[in-house]
Symmetry: C2
Subunit: 282 residues, 2 copies
């Protein structure tokens, strides 16, 4: 059984959306954030029942389930500095977009009477902050749980249940390594591509001619530079490999175009159409 | 004043959508296609008033306004082979996605008693054929007219009026060269990027983890290989230049990631976010 009371640490876009989803699901949600205004906003909006800017052991130790909605490095730093505030037996989860450098480090330094099971809600928006939070983005989205040998079966099940209760469509389990390899391609490479498309040339006279293709391919080029530069660097080797694969494909097209090689162009495009079918929303 | 009767040559996705839009706007629309079934379909659907698979001078010369909805090379070929079927004084327009190699060639070979004014409806779908046609894709979309020194003011105005009557949101005028430079970036490069993203690696296990970002960036990776390979090759030099600019931006990101250069990453992302704002739909 999952706890009635859940503590959210960090009221950003995802923290706020978790708070809303969990409050709507009937949980009593508390929150901690360094910014008093965000706590006030979330209280006024009714998406948390209580909140504080203090690192208060009495407050924190009321909760046996804590979700850290911080950037990865801040999360690891919080655990290092403040884990003594957490009650024994508490289950900790997170929302980090990169797993290998986060999961093993937190599990290594965590007190033995606590458990950390990591998760990644694959949903978001091109805006940050609790004021833009919206739990409807979770509806039908993917929720990934990345257990390691350190995790217990009850914790894994509880973490998945959390995803289900927030309305995620598909709950999957994979290793931190599989997660980072997949996310390096599906998410990080796509953000690199969108940013490069948006910045590779002067575009000030182009906006009025734009069709939906360019708009779709650059939607995520409006990007939170603090979070994404951190995520890119935490998954450096995987991402560089994905960039190299992608650039190599671009060079194949370039060469075919230069040589007037219609057959290669058509063959690559047929492959593309065939593979894209698998990604249609079911 | 625009003619009451309009002939569409080629009932593909765009030809069919033009037929529907123009019939809805009150025009009497005729059609020619090599495929009898497509004519039958369009007649049954009520988006054309008459149609034929014959190259019949009597039929064609009833029309003083003809829209060629063929691929670029097929359009130029049709004019070369069959322009004697067209009545003197007829205005011809088209929907070609590339302009420089089409416009000057057609204007060069065209009989002096005909006029060709070229246009590009910037709308479409990831499916082809009249059965997928849908004139609602024009609503709010861009319609580009690319006149040259050969064109008369009345013809340019009539061509623009055609776009307005079909429901396009913005009607713009630019030179064939400006058009191809712009389209090489906004449309052709984006299709190269989507195709490369979709084909650069094995993805069969990835579909179930995909978020909206990857789905959005590869929507156009389901691609009509015959049309797009023709468009790419007709705009070869422009497109190769755009690919080089884009790959160079990818290399800048790659280098910053490899060097752990957070400042460069953030600076590129800030530039990206700022530039992307101009492309938000008004």
């Amino acid at each position: 059984m999952i706890e009635d009371k859940i503590l959210i640490v960090g009221l950003g876009l995802i923290g706020g959306s978790y708070a809303e989803a969990l409050t709507n699901a009937g949980f009593q949600v508390g929150a901690i954030d360094v910014n008093r205004e965000l706590i006030g906003y979330a209280l006024a909006k009714g998406i948390i029942a209580e909140g504080t800017v203090q690192l208060d052991k009495e407050f924190i130790s009321k909760y046996r389930l804590i979700v850290f909605c911080l950037y990865p490095n801040a999360f690891v730093g919080w655990i290092k500095a403040h884990q003594d505030l957490i009650a024994p037996g508490t289950l900790i989860t997170d929302v980090s977009g990169v797993k290998v450098p986060v999961v093993y480090e937190v599990q290594r330094i965590l007190r033995p009477d606590l458990e950390f099971i990591s998760a990644h809600p694959m949903a978001g928006r091109e805006r940050s902050g609790v004021a833009n939070s919206d739990s409807s983005v979770f509806k039908g989205a993917n929720y990934l749980v990345t257990p390691t040998a350190c995790n217990t079966l009850p914790a894994i099940e509880k973490c998945k249940e959390l995803g289900r209760r927030m309305g995620f469509g598909k709950i999957s389990e994979l290793s931190p390594e599989e997660h980072d390899e997949m996310i390096g391609f599906l998410s990080q490479l796509t953000h690199c591509v969108a940013v490069s498309l948006m910045t590779c040339r002067e575009t000030s006279l182009m906006a009025k001619y734009s069709g939906d293709s360019f708009r779709d391919l650059t939607r995520i080029a409006a990007i939170n530079e603090t979070m994404w530069s951190e995520l890119f660097l935490l998954n450096r080797d995987v991402l560089i490999h994905q960039i190299d694969l992608f650039v190599s494909s671009m060079e194949t097209l370039r060469k075919a175009i230069e040589n007037g090689d219609t057959e290669t162009l058509k063959s690559v495009m047929r492959d593309s159409s065939r593979k894209r079918e698998q990604f249609d929303k079911k």
